[in-house]
Amino acid sequence: MQMLALRSDQMIKAEQKPIEEILTYLDPYKKILLSGCGACVTVCHAGGEKEVSLLASSLKMARNLTGKPLEIQEITPARQCEPEFAEEIVEIVEKTEGVEAVLSLSCGIGVQTLARFLTKTPVIPGVNTVFMGETVSHGVWEERCQACGNCLLERTGGVCPIARCSKQLLNGPCGGSSKGKCEIRQETDCAWQLIYDRLKSLGQLDKLREVIPAKNWGTESRDKGPRRIVREDLKI
């Protein structure tokens, strides 16, 4: 079996919150732990080790300028969204004297994992989790999946109409598609143009004749609340 040297945990894309907003959240504190995450947010340059150092330096300077110095301890675990790593962070917080809050540059999942374990210390988000997507080129990321719960990609040539069609149409383009572009945003490719081109190059245009039924959002998506996956064989 050929092994590819690729990370599998890099699908979530995030952006750092405006520093003014972060400073507002940190106003009551004198010492914090700034935790990045070595997974998705490292790949999209929002919360990896580098971004942790950069933000720590900026925050320290900003607070010094206002005469309210902020002490920052930095850490970037391999992942923040798994209990093993969260427990390590909890240990650091407990052993480090005076840490009043944790500023987390991981995605919203990591923040919540940490909050679950850190019962008495506030966990503040430093990034906005934006979407699940692909690195199109250096510094450019685009949405590719909305975790709808029932993947249609086999029928659409590997192009997702839920994530990439502005109107989430399942059976062809709307009337606004023009020259392969979306009417909602001119720089966005029309997902159905991409689907047509892809199926044509695969010699599978006949797939367009199959009608894709409306999705059952009630059972497939989160309309019935947060979803949960349980694998009995993996439980300890």
Binding site: I19, S57, S58, M61, A62, L65, T66
Partner: protein, 150 residues
């Protein structure tokens, strides 16, 4: 009389800034007194963090000497340095520091005169801006750059 002599950190690309500095030295051109030259293999090696850390640790101004555009041995190192500098300037503005403390200068190997003149100009502009407020706030009496007799 006590005067303020700005501390300048100059990140110098080894393909352009460093030879230009050596040329200035050969020509016996004067450069500002409180100057620290940091050689880097390419201007593109200058991380955004380096620029911020220099200011955080008391520099009054930072300058990156990079190769001329479209003349980088490593293709786009000079352009990367420029992008990072712009990003850092944007950050400085948000935290309340003058973005003018950071700048980039494209320079050729044999531009010893330009190297010296650019630094002199920067020192003059930094004198107008005044000392890095971070140093003043941390310890008003210990500012390394104030108190040197001219």
């Amino acid at each position: 009389m006590l005067v303020f002599i700005p501390k300048i950190v100059a990140f110098c690309c080894e393909q352009s800034g460093v030879p230009a500095a050596e040329m200035a030295e050969t020509l016996k051109l004067s450069v500002p007194a409180n100057l620290e030259i940091v050689p880097v293999p390419c201007a593109g090696r200058t991380e955004t963090l380096f620029l911020l850390k220099a200011l955080e640790r008391g520099a009054d101004g930072v300058i990156v000497f990079a190769c001329h555009e479209e003349n980088c041995q490593y293709l786009i190192g000079n352009m990367r340095a420029k992008s990072r500098l712009l990003y850092a300037q944007n950050l400085l503005q948000k935290i309340g520091l003058e973005k003018e403390r950071l700048e980039i200068c494209n320079i050729a190997t044999n531009s010893g005169v330009k190297f010296a003149e650019t630094l002199k100009d920067k020192a003059i502009r930094l004198k107008e801006l005044g000392p890095n407020p971070l140093t003043r706030i941390n310890d008003p009496l210990a500012h390394a750059n104030v108190g040197i007799k001219e």
